[in-house]
Symmetry: C3
Amino acid sequence: GRAEMGIVDSDADDISAQFFTDIDVTFTMSGETDGGLAFGASVDLDEGGDGSAASDDNSDDGGATIFISGGFGTVTMGDTDGALDWALSDAGNNNNGGSINDDETEHAGYNGSYLDGDGGNDGQILRYNYTAGAFGFAISYEQGDTDFEDFDFGDERTESDESDGFAIGVRYGLDIAAGTVNFGLGYQEVDVDGDDNDLDGIGLSIAATFDNGLAAGITYLDGEFDGDDEGDDHIGVGIGYTTGAITLHANYGQYDYGDDSEAEGFGLSAAYDLGGGAVVHAGYGDSDFDDDDADFSTFSLGLGLSF
Amino acid sequence: GRAEMGIVDSDADDISAQFFTDIDVTFTMSGETDGGLAFGASVDLDEGGDGSAASDDNSDDGGATIFISGGFGTVTMGDTDGALDWALSDAGNNNNGGSINDDETEHAGYNGSYLDGDGGNDGQILRYNYTAGAFGFAISYEQGDTDFEDFDFGDERTESDESDGFAIGVRYGLDIAAGTVNFGLGYQEVDVDGDDNDLDGIGLSIAATFDNGLAAGITYLDGEFDGDDEGDDHIGVGIGYTTGAITLHANYGQYDYGDDSEAEGFGLSAAYDLGGGAVVHAGYGDSDFDDDDADFSTFSLGLGLSF
Amino acid sequence: GRAEMGIVDSDADDISAQFFTDIDVTFTMSGETDGGLAFGASVDLDEGGDGSAASDDNSDDGGATIFISGGFGTVTMGDTDGALDWALSDAGNNNNGGSINDDETEHAGYNGSYLDGDGGNDGQILRYNYTAGAFGFAISYEQGDTDFEDFDFGDERTESDESDGFAIGVRYGLDIAAGTVNFGLGYQEVDVDGDDNDLDGIGLSIAATFDNGLAAGITYLDGEFDGDDEGDDHIGVGIGYTTGAITLHANYGQYDYGDDSEAEGFGLSAAYDLGGGAVVHAGYGDSDFDDDDADFSTFSLGLGLSF
């Protein structure tokens, strides 16, 4: 479980700093078949409850995740990353100590989910991934409100195929003298109401972690809309450093939308580890838009407790 | 806990097969008094949560069950079977490996709850049962929106008694050379808005389990409406067989409604046990109505994981 | 966890006794930092769940409580008592065995929360308390929909400060020959839409527990509205006695509202402990208003099970 308490503030409204309390209880279950396959599932208290999607709507995962794995690889269904998101390292994943309000990964220039959930999809994803040494491979399918049977990999789709998402991704970890460099590459497409509204994107990330506590990375997404280059592009960079109980992180990102508008932002976090699962967190996020009046920043300070 | 993942399909709509994820965490609590009475309670994660009937509406059980038992028998309150349902073996209880979407026990010809919850009742039941050797006995009361104080067993009720349910049931298990034959007999009545709308039913079931893995049974309900024979009748039969890791089950049922309309259906399930709590499930349900255009079938295939 | 089953009745409506089932699962988490600070959090199953305030609304505690404590004292945030409520012993706290429906502490003359949550506040409280031997001290702040930054202890507030609550309290336990006498004193103010609508109150309680199983106490609150004496006053007395497995409790309370209207009530409870966490509970509450037609009473009888 996890609990967080502190204060949060945003200059996007007239409301000043507010108390912040959050609590989460995660139920993790696991087992193994006689044949040696591992399986498991997890759901959070805040994802369950009467009427919730996780437990009462079987066609929506609602945050629950279920997997089975063996020598053949791992099959995961539910609230999990698509293969593109699985392959890439986000800018905020470079040695980020986190914050209670996630300010540093929710600014206007941050991209954390790539095309998962785009096109009105509900994020209920089926993913297969396989790892051999430093090399990893995944394919995934995210189901929209559509015919599963008509899904036909590689072929032209009919208009009755609404909002299916398909992705493929590869990862490679290169050991160097001072640490490891992780390369990720993936492709995801989302078919929305027939071919004329397709979204797709190619993403690439390079992230290095060094033995001295430093981590840095860059991620790039080249998005397309209806097959031409007017899609949304994104670039993000992040850096983090841990020394003793202190972890500092910064990231910057920029969206270049298909209509020539832009948004950018940066995030900062600082964490001080008290040990035993208690960490003091500070987070800051700054969002900039073409319209300066829309700019805003958010801040949080508090205690994160892991149990 | 339990998790299920797979695909489900129904030909009742234009939507084709859909991903299916379900997760359930059950909290079971038990204790014993100094005098040796056992007591306990259980509730599922998907039945709790803020605003749920289980935890926030004390006049509705919302899925929670609470019991206390001792030499005097067992008293259960909450989401439990009425005495008729308690006494009988459903057609789908004959060695059924189950399915992730319960297709085989939710077709139009299936009867699983008898008169529990009928007449607008909420299923909050108080049941006393007592077992002596092979013989079992139960009485139950299901409370509607009415006066508990006015409840007067056997007497004529006033119109202010809305939707009370009362039931009585007996069970007997007969050991035979090749296995056991279980007999169940019960009676349940539901008073709806005074005597003119009473529902009642007499039910009987015979279910045999054999040492060779076979199980088969029949269940019959003779329903009455307002004291005459125009009530809903139902007959159901089921058979199941287990050999090694495989369990196969089939059932068939037919409703003969008081207005001379009928509905029937059959269900099939196949389960392959991978061990350790992981089972591959396939289920099929077929529903037939007097109006053929209303007929439909459902199918599911997936993995059930018990923890 | 805890489960309760029984029957409840109120003569405030035409509905007679109803079945009562309630179930609660509490998740309690705790840890310790390397420096020896203890921390923890708790939330109930009925407070969590998808969409609940506890887990999904970080600006409302929704029933969750989080604390960290050390030699400096204890800091608690969430669903906890304000410093006034923390300091005082309620009338119903004098050796009360409790009831399944809380009849004895919910009558019209009962005061259990003092000014916590008044003025439209949400009960999300930050409290610091420190205990040295028999002496205890606490200060608390309850945040309304307002500016935290503008909070200025002791100074005049601006109208933009809506519904902040501030409290201070002290406790002292005096050992006497036959037991202990606990003294509590506190002050709480709630600023509602600027100074003209301030609520505040000074509360005092004296509660004695004796080694022979008897406990008795009195609590008094002198409330003010907008700085003069037209606020709501309250007085409450309670007494309880435990002998063997039996606990009996009675309390009485009276409100004297600022508009010269009054309300009073009394509560009774009886509990018989079966051991192992199972207790038989009976409760009664009687509420009297200036308008006799509004008078009502409630009753409950049932089994409380603690796990």
